[in-house]
Amino acid sequence: TSKGAFGLGRVAMADEIAAWDIDIRPDGTGLPEGKGTVAEGEPLFADNCAVCHGDFGEGAGRWPVLAGGQDTLLKDRPVKTIGSYWPYLSTVFDYVRRAMPFGDARSLSDDDVYALTAYLLYLNDIVDDEDFELSNENFASIRLPNEDNFIPDDRLNEPHYAKGLEPCMTDCKPGPVEITARAQIIDVTPEGEGDENT
């Protein structure tokens, strides 16, 4: 039992913590020993990933795009991928090992995940050598291009949240109010009554 006020629970054993605590931080904390190359990652990706994400990470159908989209973040329709958007490589390794392939999570070995992560770096032009080997030794030295573009939450500095603003109650808009957008013109709302998922 615990030494806490209630004495409830029991001490977690080392093997139990190791089984569940698989998270990795941007500085590499938590990485398992292992390694894999771009060349090893390519067939693994073809066998386990390409059916949804495309042979080159371009995304099949509406499934997520994993590669490309560089220099689109300022565009009307940004393409947010590992290469164009994600700040840290640690997230790639962690998430693939944690939750992929979709429907068969935790089925990849640590070396598989290193190889797949190396292949995703290659697909995103972050490494260009098919013999590049990613390991727990060199992992933290790899930086993703968009790392510096994440900022803290500063919503409350936006003008509409300025302190002491009393909202207008009368005569707030001169002239008639015009409709500028209509949902019925787009007409993408599901119809049908009664059944969920209709």
Partner: protein
């Protein structure tokens, strides 16, 4: 219910039903006989109805009750084109049909990343590890021996209204605002569990992890974890629904729904955030200058008129009209809700009815006398921190159109002279 052993009773019921069916066979017949009906009285009153003569169902028919069959349209709905797959997807609470502030459990919207995990509570474990004096494992039985709290909180998906950043798209408040629910949670204050393990002084962040196939993870500042977070096992009095994290979920009051980790199995203490997928690739808010906000935890002050709305048109003509809506803020209680019927040229305060609880839904009403002319309805919430709900154009001016998350802009409904309502935007 008809006694099937009595042939006469069965025959009487059948003939009564045939008569009723004939009477319902079309508006023309009803309209033609309306004058007669008025003179003779409404048949629903002057004629004995089935439910007034024959017995209803016994108490042994429905051990766990369901809504009336006449409420079959009050259901969660999804929008298939929004996601690539219904397993990592979203559905929507039918806000337009609900009143008060409590969402019925079966109607609470769902958001899964790996489907609904099905876990026998006897097999569930909660681990606390990391920067603690003693890493611990709890069973559900253990957790139910800690002192409990009951709290009413809204849970709003960070993406609620996200499809509306570029303009009016989905026609109904179920779809534009329905990634939200509000229930009374029963659970253990998270700080009791953390104190049991003993958080070390350098423990500044908490990682919460789910047991589902997505193994959902989020980093939470330790101040929030020790403040008002709950580890909940009941909602609205009964066990969590499977789709809401049965047997255990995290409640992070006022903060974006993604952080309310379901099927909660692990809490790790660390000295820095973990930059997990759901706080880097997702749940970060891209701005017009290419920067992206991260750790946008709080859900801003927000409101919506739930009726009239596109799925709840005005069908009764001119005269008294109840404008009903919801307001909420992740920062506290709602102090005031203003309503306009002319697209924002003039506003009047609405009436908040029912409990006003921090980080919970609030119900507001404005009772008007509709003259049958077109209306542009909007609501504007103000919370107890003095934060005023912005317009969508103010949000776009500050953020651009690609933030996806945290759209709390003022919603406009256009009511036409026939009472039909549409999702619009106005100048």
């Amino acid at each position: 219910m008809v006694d099937k052993t009595d042939p006469q009773a069965t025959k009487r019921a059948a003939s009564r039903r045939d008569f009723l069916k004939a009477g319902l066979l079309g508006g023309a017949a009803v309209a033609a006989s309306a004058g007669v009906a008025r003179a003779a009285g409404e048949p629903l009153i002057t004629e004995i109805q089935d439910w007034n003569r024959y017995l209803g169902e016994g108490v042994d028919v429905a051990p766990y009750g369901k809504p009336s069959e006449f409420e079959a349209n009050v259901v969660r709905r999804n929008v298939p084109w929004l996601t690539s797959d219904p397993v990592s997807s979203i559905n929507f609470t039918p806000l337009h049909e609900l009143e008060g502030i409590i969402t019925p459990n079966g109607l609470c919207f769902e958001r899964h990343h790996g489907g609904t995990a099905v876990i026998n509570p006897a097999d569930h474990r909660l681990m606390i590890n990391g920067l603690v004096d003693t890493p611990l494992v709890f069973t559900m039985e253990d957790l139910k021996r800690f002192p409990r709290e009951n709290r009413v909180y809204f849970l709003e998906c960070a993406a609620n209204g996200g499809m509306e950043w570029r303009g009016s798209q989905l026609n109904g408040c179920q779809f534009t605002h329905g990634m939200i629910h509000c229930v009374v949670y029963t659970g253990v204050p998270l700080r009791y569990l953390l104190e049991e393990a003993g958080v070390k002084t350098n423990g500044k962040w908490l990682l919460a992890e789910g047991a589902d196939a997505a193994a959902m993870t989020r980093s939470i500042p330790i101040e929030k974890a020790l403040d008002d977070c709950l580890v909940a096992f009941k909602m609205n009095g009964e066990a969590l629904r499977a789709e809401q994290g049965y047997p255990l979920r995290l409640c992070v009051p006022g903060w974006e729904g993604n952080m309310w980790v379901k099927w909660l199995r692990r809490l790790e203490i660390g000295d820095e955030p973990w930059a997990q997928r759901e706080e880097t690739s997702k749940y970060t808010d891209l701005l017009a200058d290419g920067k992206a906000r991260r750790h946008t935890f709080v859900m801003d002050v927000k409101s919506v008129i739930t009726s009239p709305s596109p799925q709840a048109p005005v069908t009764h003509g001119k005269g008294p009209l109840v404008i009903s809506g919801l307001a909420w803020s992740g920062s506290g209680t709602i102090k005031r809700v203003d309503v306009t019927i002319d697209g924002g040229r003039s506003w009047q305060p609405a009436r908040i009815d029912g409990p006003s609880l921090p980080k919970a839904l609030h119900r507001f009403y404005l009772d008007i006398n509709w003259d049958g002319s077109e209306m542009l309805l909007q609501s504007r919430a103000i919370d107890d921190q003095g934060l005023v709900q912005p317009t969508k154009n103010e949000l776009r001016a500050a953020r651009g159109e690609n933030s996806i998350y945290h759209n709390n802009g003022i919603q406009t409904w256009h009511v036409n002279t026939d009472g039909v309502v549409e999702n619009v935007e106005v100048s």
